[in-house]
């Protein structure tokens, strides 16, 4: 075992940061220090986030937007203040942010609203799909940004098309399937497998040229680098709290105001209505229109605390730190005979998910050896099965980082990969 120090060349005081994360202090598999390299699946939470949520629950908890007593006022303020702080963090106006349970719900919300548009006239027509219309995604999408569009095609008769991926793990812009029939282009900002950061401006330009909407899956970008939705010019975007040091059970859908204004609802019920009769109902303005039922109140408060925590560190610092870890991991893994990295090996337009395969050792077995050494990585297709098939693979090993990871942890990973090679080598 490599001891886990906090050596790093970046400006961050990672020792201090690690002290904020209670879980990172624990040991696994008979007393081994935990090396948590699975933040791409879900991140850990600092005390500050846990404390903020608990303080809310011990002092201000009440149903929001429904009560007239003091607690209800305080809870509503906490919830709406959370929305405003999170909006500022991603370059959006508060009313452009809808709280969902996760990013997956956000994408489903847009996809279902688009089929619901068939039932409403007026401004909602821009969301309508009919047979012949096309939806464009990419071959590197997470299932969350793929399956909902397949289902939308089934509901509306539209056709699904996609950008291919190059052997080097970049979006193949030459396979461009965007045509005047394209109604929406949905793509990931940063691949959760390849680490690839896609050319948002170029894709937005091409989509706009044909009048198509854009939806950005920002699940892997917002937690790791500065992101400004207004500057990017996308129409919709989604991300999840649990990947950015925040609570599970809360995600965000961003939508440009005019679009949210015009879009029909998805989930219906309490708090999203204007008038309700037995026969028919009308709906509240956004964002309330898209937040049916009692929302994830304390989780929104926790997510705002996570945003405060990240802002305090500075997203540029976070990105720089992770770039350093990524650089180190790619270099060290690339130097191991029999290890192949899936995705770009340069760190330009690339984030910190490093996926690889080891000749003759299945990803699950590599993962098992790593786990035995206290190193937590993800093995499998990482919810991007078609992308794996594109590379002729069923499974890869993925190491992914966050602000609390260290170069020593990268070294522990590389040592572990070598140990797996030895363990499964014919020579044993």
């Amino acid at each position: 075992m490599t001891a886990v120090h906090t050596r790093t060349a970046s400006a961050l005081d990672v020792t201090k940061i690690r002290a904020d994360f209670p879980l990172l202090a624990r040991t696994v598999r008979d007393g081994k220090p935990l090396v948590y390299l699975d933040s791409g699946a879900t991140s850990q939470r600092p005390r500050q986030v846990l404390d903020a949520e608990r303080a809310f629950l011990e002092q201000h908890n009440a149903a929001v937007h429904r009560g007239a007593h003091q607690l209800a006022e305080e809870a509503t303020d906490a919830y709406e203040s959370a929305r405003a702080r999170i909006a500022a963090f991603v370059g959006a106006d508060p009313a452009e942010l809808v709280f969902t349970k996760n990013a997956t719900e956000g994408i489903n919300l847009v996809a279902y609203a688009m089929s619901n548009a068939a039932l409403v006239d007026g401004d909602a027509e821009q969301f309508r799909l009919a047979p012949g219309d096309e939806i464009v995604i990419t071959e590197m999408e997470h299932h969350a940004n793929l399956v909902p569009w397949q289902e939308l095609c089934r509901r509306t008769g539209a056709t699904l098309k996609w950008f291919g991926v190059t052997d080097g793990g970049r979006l193949d812009l030459d396979t461009d399937p965007i045509t005047p029939l394209t109604k929406i282009v949905a793509f990931t900002h940063q691949s959760n497998v390849l680490g690839t950061v896609n050319p948002v401006a170029e894709l937005v330009r091409r989509a706009r040229e044909v009048g198509a909407l854009t939806l950005l899956d920002a699940c892997q970008s917002v937690p790791h680098s500065p992101v400004d939705f207004h500057a990017l010019g996308v129409d919709f975007a989604v991300f999840s709290g649990h990947k950015m040091l925040g609570p599970s059970g809360v995600g965000v859908l961003y939508g440009r105001s005019e679009l949210l204004e015009a879009m029909p609802p998805f989930l219906t019920g309490g708090s999203m209505i204007e008038l309700v009769h037995m026969e028919t109902s009308s709906y509240a303005p956004p964002p309330q229109r898209f937040e049916a039922g009692v929302p994830m109140t304390s989780q929104a408060v926790g997510l705002a605390a996570a945003v405060d925590y990240l802002t305090e560190i500075g997203m540029d610092q976070v990105a720089a730190h992770e770039a350093e870890l990524t650089r180190a991991a790619i270099d060290a893994l690339d130097a191991v005979d029999g290890v192949t990295i899936i995705g770009p090996t340069d760190v330009v337009d690339r984030g910190g998910a490093v996926s690889f395969v080891v000749d003759g050792v299945h990803a699950h077995d590599v993962g098992q050896v790593l786990d035995d050494r206290g190193i937590a990585v993800r093995v499998g297709h990482h919810c991007a099965w078609p992308l794996h098939r594109r590379f002729g693979l069923a499974a890869t090993v993925r190491a992914s980082f966050h602000v609390y990871n260290t170069l020593d942890e990268v070294n522990a990973l590389v040592d572990g990969v070598r140990a797996a090679q030895e363990f499964f080598g014919e020579t044993r």
Binding site: A363, D365, Q368, A394, R428
Partner: protein, 158 residues
Amino acid sequence: MQLEQMYQEIILDHYRRPHRQGLREPFDAETFHVNPTCGDEVKLRVKLSGAGPDAVVEDVSYDALGCSISQAATSMLTDLVVGRTVAESFTTLEAFQAMAQGRGQVEPDEDVLGDAVAFAGVARYPARVKCALLGWMAFKDAVARVTDSAAQTNGVKR
């Protein structure tokens, strides 16, 4: 290191040199099973002779993509069921499943499981249980298809 407990030598042997690998003719039923969490897959064929519980497993052939555990378990399965009756092979299957899902709490019976007791260590890793069971479930499913269609041909309702 607990690794050696999980990856016993006999498991690694089966993984490196799998028995009865490849898809063969003739066969009575073919199944395709996938482990959705990791993408591992197995296509498996069975050939039976006779009918009912006393039918004998003549051959099991397969094409598998997967980790050492799933490959070795499928290879070993063929050793344990080929040449035995469906009833016998299902007894082994049930014991194997009970052990694999037993979280290390189920004492494996070597008389029933034979070499497959080597998989006892896997039971301590819940995420690997599906790997160990992939080939076995494909086998169970394939046998069921043969006997079901036989039952249907005989006009027997399920």
